[in-house]
Each structure stands twice: as structure tokens, then as C-alpha cells.
Symmetry: C2
Subunit: 672 residues, 2 copies
């Protein structure tokens, strides 16, 4: 690259972009860790975007109608930290930049939404950002349809690298954005032809332009170091009604000895090479020093949106009070006041009617009363609408001609769905829930983990939660997935036993502000076990005594979901023999673990033998079976220790010994 | 569709295909479960493929040079069962067809490779089959380069549906096949425009033809019910040097009242509608009855390959004895005899040299001695070659002009990589291992589960296995992934503590015939803890006493991987205070659980207090801390109970309390 020519052609632009490059070099060198090359390559695109297009106000990073900027190539985190520092973000001080990747710094290795207000989403695992962005753009369309473009009218910009585009999830995102013609989504592809292992050609020769066009995108190809071309491309992208991809030909680690090499992808820390690069840039100040005039120009960019924002506030104030309240309530993730009473009413009704339905149907019954009073909910399914029971009558299908639709047909795209749901939740104003089969948690897993890490209340509705799936066989029968979800920090895993518990689980999930929920629901019908109406949300305790022992308590049976019925039947067998048996329903282990010792002791007192029952692997159960005052050697577990099989569900439960008789036998054997 | 016209035009073909349709209808109706529409839609394609192209001998379903047929749209399992029954497969008797999806039947809900010899791979989770197929085709190229096309020269055929193509993994597969110009891979796309939720248009408008072309595929579009067009397309696909996609316009549930609807996707069981469909087909026999002449025609197809096979056997016999032995040994998954001595020699050397290296480097050291003596190994990485340490000097890069290359640059495609590795293992003749960061197990998870379910010894090399990752932060720091892998049945999860244990783990992984292995390896350097050479593979016991208590044994510390060093240091602290402390290294919990009670008691005797140490969540540890003769209330765990953070690794271990001092303090607290 002829850096001198670039400098001369657009000196003002050049120095603003050079500030990003210099800060990146300095911060990565100080940390002796990180990725220098990407911010150095994409500095020009980012500079033009921030200077001329991005609607934002650095002093109010969470202004709802801001444009969203998503760094899908999250390893280039110094790009976003440089930008935020330069525009005057209150959190990203120079000290923070100097402490890049150090203990306690807000400038973490990869951008983290829960550390910095101006970071829209946590990226790093590749392909997530571009798929989050689909959710952001969908949420914008939905909100715009509901509140009008005077208060909701913003773009979602994404920087994605070759890694993002090679990950399969990108195809799911591209397909969704194309299908829904998300015209306010603009993706910059950092087309630098370099991956960690070498040139892209080592592993891929896909024509990305053709690929995006195949899914209905507007595509442009530009020189990613030409500010005029960048500006023109963004202008064109904003005009088209299609989602836009701008292929930006860039040089990774521009101007550095490692330019255009895979070495340039990583941490560039050689002092002489840094000096030489800065000399090329015409950057003469010391480490972390941004000349005052350049900083001032950047701060002016950061302040540029203040007028827009105040004008927006006036327009927002023009909405009816009801609309303002609804908007603010949804952004604050506050559930409507009526939710609690609505859930209680459903519980009361159900405890009287005692329907025998699958909990996936119970979930639908809950949603039927919730959705009408929570206009912020957005439902969907990965092509299993009739199986997941996620669509209620009032939602309407989200489509190009029905942006008010609150139900998304995600297609066979569990991963893209989960990531887009996260994007919706992060955008704000909507509460996404969507479903697939519990076994296909596997496909959505990277995004489910990120929901937990990002502290967002995405709800994953996972039906067909055990061998109860039946004839579809082991590929479709989860056995380890409850353990997987429970192993993940900050995740509520609900496995309700009936409609009452399901309604309670929904109440918790929809009032959660910073924890995602997994609803593990049955395919097969279950009886109502909560036949006595209680106002209190017992599921919120995680576990509770569902049936007390008659006579001396000798046995405690603990179960979740469909196995609560089994536990109750086993209790009948044991009580018939005069063996006092308590049944504990345990719909959410995480919440039970959060209870105080006194409550846990009340539910799981010492003395009795214990049997845990769950049509899944034992992992995760030992804390209740062996810990918590359990008698040594006096506990057992009835569940799965292998993959399932293909056969009618009832036969499978018998084959694998998940029966009341087997439970009763185990309890008796423990009693000796 | 004008079924009558189809019948008249090609009556012989028609009746053969009708046999598939009729058997499908009957079997699904008998099971009252399954998917009728797909086999009915793709029967013509399958019939032409089997009759005119597929190289196979029904009497020898595992003949190594057969063409591979993969039903990626695995829910259409009755297609494959019908075909196998019709051609005279010994396993798929009429009784098996009648027992479709029933307890104990080989005709499981989805095709399972471990039940039927002629089923190449287990499908059902969508997109897996097409990605497996990439591995099959790569393995074929590799074997052909090694043994010559006289003994290895076959195609891989795939039927994929819209679901397969919407799943992100398909893009990874398409990109890989295009990059490597896998000319012997032929994918039939069942272009029926129907998904479970409705028409494809509900969720996708991607131009699939353009999409495949963008990745360098040869694409044809045909009427999937026209046998001549199908024949011509397959002939053309076999000629091109590119991977081929044949878009077959089909009608789901052809000829049935549910044709072209999403209802047609599922189980069609209405007796009158079945009757009407069969009448349209001109199918007049009763349920499960195939007219003798039609069965005979199909059996002739099944026998057609016998000549090819015997000719192949003669050609194979012409190979040098050494080559024959190597070929047979690799297909039998027998490790070379020298492997054991080679591992022992490395262990001896290492216990003398006592290198302080990361276990990812230890793994490379093991591979450096293994790869030269195991020509069947194939290594790779998802764009982290230098980090995963999976490439040894002798492998060579697999490429279009170097099919002998044994190292694959998979690109940023963890999922496609894992599925293609499975395909390689299923193909036979090669032993695949490849790497990514342990945290990105998440991306590969659906295929890792299938490796376990399919009983194949794929090796997943997962480096950067804890907060030891350091500055990259929580998105890159696994905490729950050991628990996830351990929760999965039939999976060995190795977390070796040093080079000796790593070499032992490799020996187990490469002699395993039916269990996949996960190698969880550190980024950071670790000391050699196995300083005393032992011939026996101690890792094969799962856990063993690494350091015995001096004096009375009061404490047992159990640890894996990098925390074994911590345990040894804690032991020093405790012993310095006169507290006798045993250290148990536990590189593989699954293998330890398999040992007999006597051995487990020897390693974990009653009496002492116990502390488990692992930089990960506790889930999975309680069986050793609370069970196995543990003293009630006298156990503790030092590990992670939340996500990690961004900082240098040493600081993170201190922050999260994973230190020798903390371990010693906990042990002392337990002693009281």
C-alpha cells in the first residue's frame, strides 16, 4: 500500500483513522495480547461510519433510537475501544485503554455488553454478531411498526470478518435477513483475505458477493481504505430496501511490517515495527497520546448526535402517555403489573380443571394468556411451530408486509434463531422466546451460552425433552441436555411437571432481567399434579414438597417434569406398604440452590432415604442425592445412563426402568 | 401431478419406485409414526441411482470400494429401509420393515449406522449428513491417492432436503467441498418447497443454485420425477471434476392427498387416502406385499455389483502384502503393533527430560511420534493450527493437487469440521483428529454427540481448556465444557496433567474402536508430574495415586490437567504442617468409573477429607467428592462457579481462588 498517497489524499480523514491504528498498536503492545491487525485494517471504514453516518450520542450510549454498531469480528475489540475513547465515551477513559485486557478493566479481551453501555453485544465467538444483528434489525422493524418511525428509525451496522462468514451461523443469518428484507441492516465485510492459518484461500474459495446475492442482499464492492468510496457505499446501502453487504477490500495491519499476513492478525508488539508503522501514518506523538486537534475532531463526532437525540426526545414526548409507558416499560424489562394476577388466575383455573396435557401444551396455555397482555413478547420456532406450541392466536406472522407480526418462522435454523433472539433482547423493547426440540439445544448452544454470559433474559422453549419423544429415536431424544444447560452459569433450567408449574416458570422467565431461561417441556401428556391452588409461585423456590409422607417419613423422592408423575405413583406403591414417602418436585435446580439453608433443609431433611428420578443422565443430581444431609449410601437415581432408542414412549420408559415400580423397588432396597 | 402419465412413460421404472412409496406408506401407517412424504417424493431419484449408478453389492454392504449413499434428510428413513429391503439386504427383512420404529427393530426412527451395516451414517439432526459426506469424499480422495484408483474409486451420494440446506452447517460443508473440489461428491437436493411449518418461502428465499455455484459447485436442475433426466444428471455429475449438486424438483408425498403440503411431511396414515394413493400408483397388492416380479427386478439391482466386487477383490489381491495389511488394519481400526512401544518410549524420555510445556505442546510431541507410524491419521484444525498444535512435520497439506496430504485446513468451521471428521471415520481407512479451542466445543457439539451415538473413535483436540486462556476473556474460557462432554454418554474426556498423561491419552484414543475422545489441553505451560517412568498406561485407569501421603493419610486431593500441579503444591503446604496428603490425578472420569470397586476403593479409600480441584464447574465431581465412601460434610471443591474474565492467566487463577493455598486452607478447614 502506498500509505503516503492515502495520507495526502484525505489528510483529515487519515489522521482520525490513524488515531484508531495508533491506539490499537499501543494498547495491544501494553497488554502483550490481543489483535492489532483488524482495527488497523478497518479503521477507515469505522471512521467514515462514525463521522458521517452512525446516529449516536456519545454522552447517551443507550438512547433507544441510536444506530446499533456490532463488531462481529470481536477479536478486533481495540477498534471499538478506540472509537469509544475517541468520541468521548464516559466509560472508556484513557486509563481503560491503557488497561486493555487487564484485571477489572472494562476493556475486556473481547467486547462485553455487560461491561460497557456502548457495546451492543458480546462478540468473539465468530459469526454471533452478524446473527445477533438480524435480531436487532428485526426488533427495529417491529418497534418501528408499533411506535412509528418518528421514534424508531435506526440502522444496524455490522463489521464481519472472513471467520464470521465461514461459520455456518452466518448462512442462517444471511438467509433470514434476505427473507425478511431487513433493509436497515448493513454488513461491512472486512475482506482482507487473511485468517490465522494463512490466506483465506487455504480453506475457502467461496464468492461471497454471489453468496449474499443468492439470498437477496444488495451487495457493493469497495476499496476499504477509500473514505469517499466508503461514504458512497454506506449512502447507497441506506437507500436500498434490501439488507446490504459492503465488501471492503482491506489490508490487515495496514502500514505495519506484518500487513497482509496472518501474523498481522495477532498481537503486534515489536517496538521498532510499531515505530515504523506510526512513522508511515505520520503519527508522531508518544504511546497513547492523541493530538488534541484530532481528539477534538473525534469528540465533535461524538457530540454530533446530541441534536438528533434531543429532537427525538421531543418526538417521543409526543407519543400518548400509554405508548410512552409501554415503550419505557418494555425497555426496562419490567413485566406489566397484570402479569402476576394473570398467572395466578391461570393456575387457579388449571388446578380446578386438572387437564392432562403435555407441558408444551401447558406452555401454549400460558402464552395464550400472557401474550395479549405483554405486547413486547415475540415468539417463534425453528420450523416446529405445531410441535413447540409457541404460536398463540394473536401474534400474527412477522413478514415484509406485516412488521407488526410477533411470530417468526425461523426456518430450520436453531443457531441463527438463538443468536437473533439474543439480538432482539439486546436491542431492547421486545422479549423474545422461540422453540425447537430440546435435543437441538446442541445446535443453538453457542448462542445460549452467550445469552447467559451477556445477562439477557432470552427464553428458549425446548420441547420433546426426553425419551418421551418415542419413535424418533436417540438422535431426537435428549439425555444429557438438562445437565448441559444446568452446567452453564446464569441459566434457569425449568422442567415443569404440569401446567401450574409451567405457568410459574413462564412468570419467572418473563420477569427475569438478566438470566436466560430454558423451558424443557414434554411431548407426552402429563396429569395435573398441582391440584391444590396456591397463590405463591412455588417454582420460584426451585423445589418444594409436593406430597408429604403419611406416617413416618422414610423416603424422599425427588423428580422433575414428567417424572413427577412417576414419583407420585411410586409414593402410592410405597405408602401402600406403610412406607412414609415424601415427593419433592424440583422444577428448577438453580433456584433451589439459591434458597437459604433453612428452606433447603425443610425440603430435604436428613434421615430419609432419597431417590432422584429424571429421564436424563444423573450428572447434576448428586448434590441433592449425596449432599444436603443425605445418609451415606442411602440414595439412588432412576434415569438414563446411555442414549435412548426408537420405540413408543411408554415402552421406552419401561425398557429403561423409569417406572414407579422400579423407583419403589430402589427405595425399598435402600431401606433394607 | 399427472401420475398416470408418469406411469405410462416409464412403466418399469415406475413400479420399482412405487414399491418404495407403497412400503413407506405401509410402514409409517403400521408404526403410526414417521415421515411418509420424503421417500414418496424422492423414490424416483433413489430408484435411478440404485438401478443405474450406485456401485454396491447388497450381499456385501461393507465392501470398502462401494459407493456411499447418505440420507442427510434422515427423517425419510423409510426410503433407505425400503431400498435395502428391496435389494435383498440380509438385515432389512420384511419383518424389520413391518416393525419400523418399534422396540428392538433395526429399522429405527432415523437411520442408525450402528444398527444396520448398509447405513453409512446416523442422520436425523439436519445438515449432518451432507457435512459427513464431505468427510467421506475426502477420505476417498486420500485413500485413492495412497492405494491407487484400482482399489479406491467410488462416489459419495447424498440426499439433502431444504432443512439440511437451511442449517448453517451446510454452508460449511458446501464451502469445504468447493474448496477441495471433491468431484466424487454428488448431492441431490430434494427441492420440494415444503418444510414442517409450510412452504419454504415462509422462512427462506435463497437461490440455492446460485449459492452452490458461489462455492464452486457444478449445479444442475432437473425434474425429480423424470427417470431419464435423473440418469442424465447423475452421468454428468460423475463426469465433472467439481462437487455436484442436482436440484431435483419433486412433489412431497407424490400422488397422495397430502401431496405438496406440509402435512405430507409427516405420518400419512389415513387408510382411504393410502388406498387412493396406491390406486394412482397402480399398486394393487396388499400392505407390505411387493409383487414378485418387482422384487426380482430390485434384487437383480442388489446383485448387480457382485461382479464389480469380485473384480475389485482380485485387484486388491494384486496390491503388495504390506499395502493390503495396512489397508485392512486401518479399516479394522487396529493400531499398528508399534504404537504401544512408541508411546512407552516417549513416556520414558519425557519422565527423564521433564519438560515444562503446555499439554497442547505435549499433544504435538505425541503426534510427532505417532503420525509417522500411523499413516491412517488425518489431522487438522479450524484455523488454529499454531494454537492447537495438531500439525506435525510429516503430514503435508491436503489439497486439490496433494490428495496424499494428511492435514486439513478446515477454516473457521468447527461444526463442519467435526461432522466431516465423523464422515472420515465412518468411511473407514483413516483416523481423523482435529482441533479448535475447547470453548468452541459448543459449535461442534451436535456432531460430537453424534460421534458418541454412532460409536466412532473421532478425536477432538480441544486446546485452551480453562481460564488459563487468560486475556481473551470469558467468551473464550470454557468453564462448563468438561461437564458438557462428560454428560454425554460414550465419550472419553481426557484432561491430562502433563506430557506423560497426554501420550497415554493419545494411546487410548487411537486404539479406541467405538468411543470418541475429547482431549482437553492447556494453553499454559505445566511441569512434568509423572517423573517416575511406568510402563503401564495409568490414564487407562481413569484416576490413580500420583503422590502418596507421608504419614497418616488425612487428606485426598483430586485434580485434573493444570490443577494437578496446584494439588501437588497444596500437598507440599499440607505436608509441611504434618498433614498426610494424597494426590490423585484423574485424567478421565469415564475410565475411572469403569474400574472395579476394589480399584476405586484403593484410589479413594474412606477416612480422609477430600478436595476436588478443577478450573471448571463442579458438576460431575460430586460422585467422587460426596459418593465413593466420602465422609459426610468432609469434602470440598475448588473451581469455577461463574464465567471467567479477561486478564493474564496467573491473575485469573488467583482471582478465582484456584491456588495451592486456597486448596490447603479448604482441606484444613475440613479437618477442623
Amino acid at each position: 500500500m502506498d500509505i503516503a498517497a492515502l495520507r495526502e489524499k484525505n489528510p483529515d480523514h487519515w489522521m482520525k483513522a490513524a488515531a484508531i491504528r495508533a491506539l490499537t498498536l499501543d494498547a495491544v503492545a501494553a497488554a502483550n495480547s490481543g489483535h492489532s491487525g483488524m482495527p488497523m485494517g478497518m479503521a477507515d471504514v469505522a471512521t467514515v461510519l462514525y463521522e458521517k453516518h452512525l446516529k449516536f450520542d456519545a454522552a447517551h450510549p443507550q438512547w433507544p433510537d441510536r444506530d446499533r454498531f456490532i463488531l462481529s469480528a470481536g477479536h478486533g475489540s481495540m477498534l471499538i475501544y478506540s472509537l469509544l475513547h475517541l468520541v468521548g465515551d464516559a466509560q472508556v477513559t484513557l486509563d481503560q485503554v491503557k488497561n486493555f485486557r487487564q484485571m477489572g478493566a472494562l476493556t475486556a479481551g473481547h467486547p462485553e455488553n455487560f461491561l460497557l453501555d456502548a457495546v451492543e453485544t458480546t462478540t468473539g465467538p465468530l459469526g454471533q454478531g452478524i446473527a445477533n444483528a438480524v435480531g436487532f434489525a428485526m426488533a427495529e422493524e417491529m418497534q418501528r411498526a408499533q411506535y412509528g418511525k418518528k421514534v424508531v428509525d435506526h440502522h444496524t451496522y455490522v463489521i464481519a470478518g472472513d471467520g464470521c462468514l465461514m461459520e455456518g451461523i452466518s448462512q442462517e443469518a444471511i438467509g433470514l435477513a434476505g427473507r425478511h428484507q431487513l433493509g436497515k441492516l448493513v454488513v461491512f465485510w472486512d475482506n482482507n483475505n487473511i485468517t490465522i492459518d494463512g490466506t483465506v484461500d487455504l480453506s475457502d474459495r467461496t464468492n461471497q458477493v454471489q453468496r449474499f446475492k443468492a439470498s437477496g442482499w444488495h451487495v457493493q464492492e469497495i476499496d476499504g481504505h477509500d473514505p469517499e468510496a466508503i461514504d458512497a457505499a454506506i449512502t447507497a446501502a441506506k437507500k436500498t430496501k434490501k439488507p446490504s453487504m459492503i465488501a471492503c477490500k482491506t489490508h490487515i495491519a495496514l502500514g505495519h511490517a506484518a500487513q497482509d499476513t496472518s501474523k498481522g492478525h495477532g498481537a503486534l508488539t515489536d517496538a521498532d515495527q510499531m515505530k515504523a508503522a506510526k512513522a508511515q501514518y505520520g503519527w508522531t506523538t508518544g504511546p497513547f497520546e492523541v493530538p488534541a486537534d484530532i481528539k477534538a475532531q473525534w469528540e465533535a463526532i461524538g457530540a454530533r448526535g446530541a441534536t438528533d437525540r434531543t429532537a427525538w426526545e421531543e418526538r417521543f414526548a409526543g407519543l400518548s402517555q400509554q405508548k410512552q409507558d409501554r415503550f419505557n416499560r418494555a425497555y426496562a424489562l419490567d413485566a406489566p403489573k397484570r402479569l402476576s394476577a394473570t398467572i395466578k388466575a391461570l393456575k387457579k383455573q388449571v388446578s380446578e380443571d386438572q387437564p392432562k396435557v403435555a407441558t408444551r401444551k401447558s406452555s401454549e396455555m400460558a402464552l395464550e394468556v400472557i401474550n395479549p397482555i405483554m405486547p413486547e413478547t415475540v415468539g417463534g420456532s425453528a420450523d416446529l411451530t405445531g410441535s413447540n406450541n409457541t404460536k398463540t392466536g394473536d401474534l400474527g406472522m412477522f413478514d415484509t408486509d406485516n412488521r407488526k407480526g410477533r411470530y417468526v418462522y425461523w426456518g430450520i435454523r436453531e443457531h441463527g434463531m438463538a443468536a437473533a433472539m439474543n439480538g432482539m433482547a439486546l436491542h431492547g423493547g421486545v422479549r423474545p422466546y422461540s422453540g425447537t426440540f430440546f435435543c437441538f439445544t446442541d445446535y443453538a448452544r453457542p448462542s445460549m451460552r452467550l445469552a447467559a454470559l451477556m445477562k439477557i433474559p432470552t427464553v428458549f422453549v425446548m420441547t420433546h425433552d426426553s425419551i418421551g419423544v418415542g419413535e424418533d429415536g436417540p438422535t431426537h431424544q435428549p439425555v444429557e441436555h438438562l445437565a448441559i444447560c444446568r452446567a452453564t452459569p446464569n441459566t434457569y433450567v425449568f422442567r415443569p411437571a404440569d401446567t401450574v408449574e409451567t405457568a410459574e416458570a413462564w412468570e419467572i422467565a418473563l420477569t427475569s432481567k438478566d438470566t436466560p431461561s430454558v423451558m424443557a417441556l414434554t411431548r407426552q401428556n402429563l396429569p395435573t399434579v398441582r391440584t391444590e391452588h396456591k397463590l405463591a409461585n412455588l417454582t420460584a423456590k426451585g423445589a418444594y414438597v409436593l406430597a408429604e409422607a403419611e406416617g413416618k417419613r422414610q423416603v424422599i423422592l425427588m423428580a422433575t417434569g414428567s417424572e413427577v408423575e412417576t414419583a407420585l405413583a411410586a409414593r402410592d406403591l410405597l405408602q401402600a406398604q406403610g412406607i412414609g414417602t415424601r415427593v419433592v418436585s424440583m422444577p428448577c435446580m438453580e433456584l433451589f440452590a439459591e434458597q437459604d439453608e433453612a428452606y433447603r433443609r425443610k425440603v430435604l431433611p436428613a434421615g430419609a432415604v432419597r431417590v432422584g428420578i429424571e429421564a436424563a443422565v444423573r450428572q447434576g443430581w448428586d448434590q441433592w442425592l449425596l449432599g444436603e444431609r443425605a445418609k451415606p449410601g442411602k440414595s439412588d437415581f432412576v434415569g438414563m445412563d446411555r442414549f435412548g432408542a426408537s420405540a413408543p414412549a411408554g415402552e421406552l420408559f419401561a425398557k429403561f426402568g423409569i417406572t414407579a415400580q422400579h423407583v419403589a423397588d430402589k427405595a425399598q432396597a435402600l431401606l433394607g
